[in-house]
């Protein structure tokens, strides 16, 4: 009961967030970050915590955990999160994908022993990546202002409601906290470990890591909304001389 109420509250908040996000999504040629000064503070806070705590823990975990075990853990949590994927397949009107992903969930939950293994991919049921933010994008919502959330990092007003839907649709939410909490910790550590390669690239390449992460986040979201095929006019950015300064600013 208490769960239901919390979730309802979160969804309501998310709805407000989405609306205000759309409202503030005016200019397309800026970097979509009206709250940059607050976001930067949050980014720095997260970064200190990450460098001093989460990263060392994740590295330790990678060191002591054999690769097959780590991929089992990743499969397990991916599978638990799959009801959210299926729901968003449906919300985006992808009927065939809804059917395929439902089969994938059933196969991996049973033959794959509770999702620890991923036999479905071998059967031609490839995994898909859908979430509520992508659904809003498909429905035509703008990006919504960029947000850096405590602990969770890059997000946006359009994408944040997915935090509620993915929680609501995750079976772990509905079972006893004695099980949920340790599994949640494992999920967090494993997720951070899977991101080590990406953050290494950031640390290596970025001059201003905040800007780098924001840009990468926004682009990857666009890529996912269009399922890997963003529209062709993205290429306008390459015509440096064609339209003078305007085209130079286009991909911001």
């Amino acid at each position: 009961m208490r769960h239901m109420r919390t979730t309802a509250l979160m969804l309501a908040l998310a709805g407000v967030a989405l609306l205000s996000g759309c409202a503030s999504n005016g200019a397309k040629n800026d970097n979509n970050d009206p709250y940059e000064s607050v976001n930067r503070k949050m980014y720095n806070f997260n970064d200190v915590l990450d460098k001093n705590f989460f990263q060392p823990v994740a590295r330790g975990y990678v060191k002591v955990t054999p690769d097959p075990v780590r991929s089992g853990v990743t499969n397990f949590f991916d599978n638990l999160g799959y009801l959210n994927v299926i729901t968003n397949d449906l919300l985006q009107g992808k009927m065939k994908q809804t059917a395929l992903d439902s089969s994938r969930f059933v196969v991996n939950s049973t033959v794959g022993i509770g999702g620890l293994f991923d036999p479905a991919t071998g059967f031609g049921l490839a995994s898909h990546d859908e979430d509520l933010g992508q659904t809003f994008g498909v429905w035509g919502a703008g990006e919504g202002a960029y947000l850096v959330l405590p602990l969770l990092g890059p997000n946006s007003f359009r994408d944040a409601p997915n935090l509620a839907s993915s929680m609501l649709l995750n079976p772990l939410t509905w079972i006893n906290s004695v099980v949920t909490i340790p599994l949640g910790v494992l999920n967090a550590v494993n997720t951070r470990a899977n991101l080590l390669e990406a953050t290494n690239i950031r640390d290596q390449a970025a001059l201003d890591p905040y800007t780098f992460v924001r840009e990468a986040y926004r682009q990857q979201r666009e890529f996912k909304i269009y399922d890997g095929n963003p529209p062709a006019d993205e290429n306008d950015e390459y015509n440096v001389d064609a339209k003078g300064d305007q085209s130079v600013l286009k991909i911001y």
Partner: protein, 202 residues
Amino acid sequence: MARMLALTLGLLMGLWTASAPAAPTDDAKAVVEKLHDTLLNAMKDAQKLGFKGRYALIEPALRTAFDFETISRIITGPHWKTLNDAQHLKFIDVFTKLSIATYANNFDGFSGEHFETASSEEKRGNMLVKTFLVKSDGKKVDLNYVLQKHGDAWQIVNVVAEGVSDLSLKRADYTAVIGSEGFDSLIAKLNEKIASYESGSK
């Protein structure tokens, strides 16, 4: 009649041979594949070559395959026009060296990866070559290249990995630094990166 036939055949043959030279899509594909070959060689001989050896191997390949001038214009954004010629040359030079050093640093070992070319298509005068880096466990990383034609040759202006455009990332990052700290500070930071690759790598 026979003459007509011969003429028709001749015309057809003519058309056929005229279209025989490689299509632009093939030319663009060849540029990317040649780069991939060099990168694979650097990976396979990584230990033997060391950082300096890999740098020397990769440098000519990168200088031919990439259009560093166009890339430099794009990633400095609106600042390009406010910089003078000497600064333009300086930036292109430092950025080119950084790119080579980054490749030499990153392609530092081989564990059964290979590259696959998926397709090559024209998009608004640019060429988009889609490829995968296939890891030894079969996992594929999307690696798309955007090429532009300069004179006779196609050259790479952007690499898009898993949907993230390198050009766009660098533009956001570099223009932020020029905007807040100035051009000289940007150059100093890029030089620092190069130095850290040189000293930190095997």
